[in-house]
Symmetry: C2
Subunit: 238 residues, 2 copies
DNA sequence: CGGAAATTTGAGATTGTTCAAATATGGTGG
DNA sequence: CCACCATATTTGAACAATCTCAAATTTCCG
């Protein structure tokens, strides 16, 4: 039996932040230390109450969660899915909004995140992370405003593939997405029924396969063209 | 004839930033100085090209503009309208995205904005401004994802009313909105035809009147209830 | 006073929704 | 290991919201 220890597995947080900025060795140590402060949320549990502020930023070590807003009549809009390596609560610096709640999809393990000195590489990494969040939110608005159901699904699959790849999860053409069609619907501004039909359609047309929590994209270049997909391009000034 | 000098008119930028944070007198002076560096864009002119970074943040002194993203097939999604007092390019600190272009609706006058010392009240004002931008973007995603055409119009009118009020423009029930129905359509993810019909409907139902670039809301409390409207609530931590 | 741009209206086509029921699927206790 | 339950997916049929295309009509601007 091959020993598969969870203790020494490379941290998705470390992997991702290293992609976003160059981290000095001592920062990596600080991250590893901070990661010892873990918290576990069972699947479907609300992690951050709607009108509550997240005191300190935390990162997701494993599992998926999402940010949502629920309207009084029960309609729900999911703003973003959070995956391993994502950092929550960065914007909290001063948060004008008590906007959205965070809910775990699967079991989620989070950890504390070290505070960054202004001007440090870690601060840079956080800033890039926050800027990426902004980028994805803009992309989401465009999806919701101007894309058809097919396009919304394709575009979001491409996006999440890229995000997962940032932490080394999945491959170009195949990656895990542990979401129900209803969650997908609430993300994409559709109904679960229509998501189901559209997925089916995409499958028949040989573009996307959704099977047991795994998404398979058959022809990424073609899909990218279809939705005019733009990979976020990191630019550092100065 | 009463003298109406434009020179001594209170700056919308100053008004707005003063609402967002307490500004020391010398900061106010610095703002007034920076405002001398003005630039004028004629109506309909693209102010910031799509893949170009905004070098330095600027503020809008007069006129309306908008941020848009245009898809290859011509579809357009407007992400945000910029009004007097708004600051552009704050996120530029490091911008991961060459996301959207900015276009003037009316003639627009912008001015430079002084750099803020980290930790200063001015930095605080900018941070709050950026956080507000984030809030409005979230609100936009929810509008586009889960609101009907009627709700989108109502919700956005409430939002822009609040934003205009921040710089002292308009009243609770009546305010200027110099936009064509087509621009509104591209903002709200609808067609100009449907915006027209929905505005008409809202007018027949006595809720909203759109006349000559002016919007009149007849019963704000009722409208707020209809769309579960949430005024952004500024919270400073520490 | 034009002429271009914006608004308005009509009619038919689409896309996506709703409601309800049938059919998997996955996890759990026995 | 299997039966069973809850949850998720799938399907059908009717319906509603929004779009498309085209043609007035009105408004605004030079």
């Amino acid at each position: 039996m091959i020993s598969s220890s969870s203790a020494s597995a490379p941290s998705p947080l470390l992997i991702r932040l290293s992609e976003l900025a160059r981290l000095a060795p001592w920062v990596i140590t600080a991250l590893a230390t901070a990661e010892r402060d873990r918290r576990r949320s069972p699947a479907k549990r609300e992690m951050v109450a709607e009108r509550e502020l997240l005191r300190k930023p935390r990162a997701i070590l494993s599992g998926w969660a999402f940010q949502q807003r629920i309207l009084t009549d029960g309609r729900r809009q999911i703003l973003n899915f959070l995956i391993p390596g994502d950092v929550i609560g960065l914007r909290t610096h001063l948060e004008p909004v008590a906007s959205s709640s965070i809910v775990a999809v699967t079991e989620v393990v989070t950890c504390a995140v070290p505070e960054a000195e202004p001007g440090s590489e870690l601060a840079e990494a956080y800033a890039v992370s926050a800027a990426l969040d902004g980028h994805y939110l803009v992309a989401h608005a465009i999806r919701l405003g101007r894309f058809t159901a097919q396009e919304r699904l394709i575009d979001w699959f491409l996006e999440i593939q890229g995000r997962l790849a940032l932490t080394g999860i999945g491959r170009d053409d195949q990656f895990p997405v542990p979401l129900t069609q209803e969650l997908l619907a609430d993300l994409l501004g559709l109904t679960n029924v229509h998501v189901n039909r559209t997925l089916k359609l995409l499958h028949r047309e040989g573009m996307v396969t959704a099977q047991g929590g795994t998404i398979t994209l058959s022809d990424q270049p073609r899909l990218r063209l279809m939705v005019d997909y733009r990979t976020p391009h990191l630019v550092r000034n100065r």
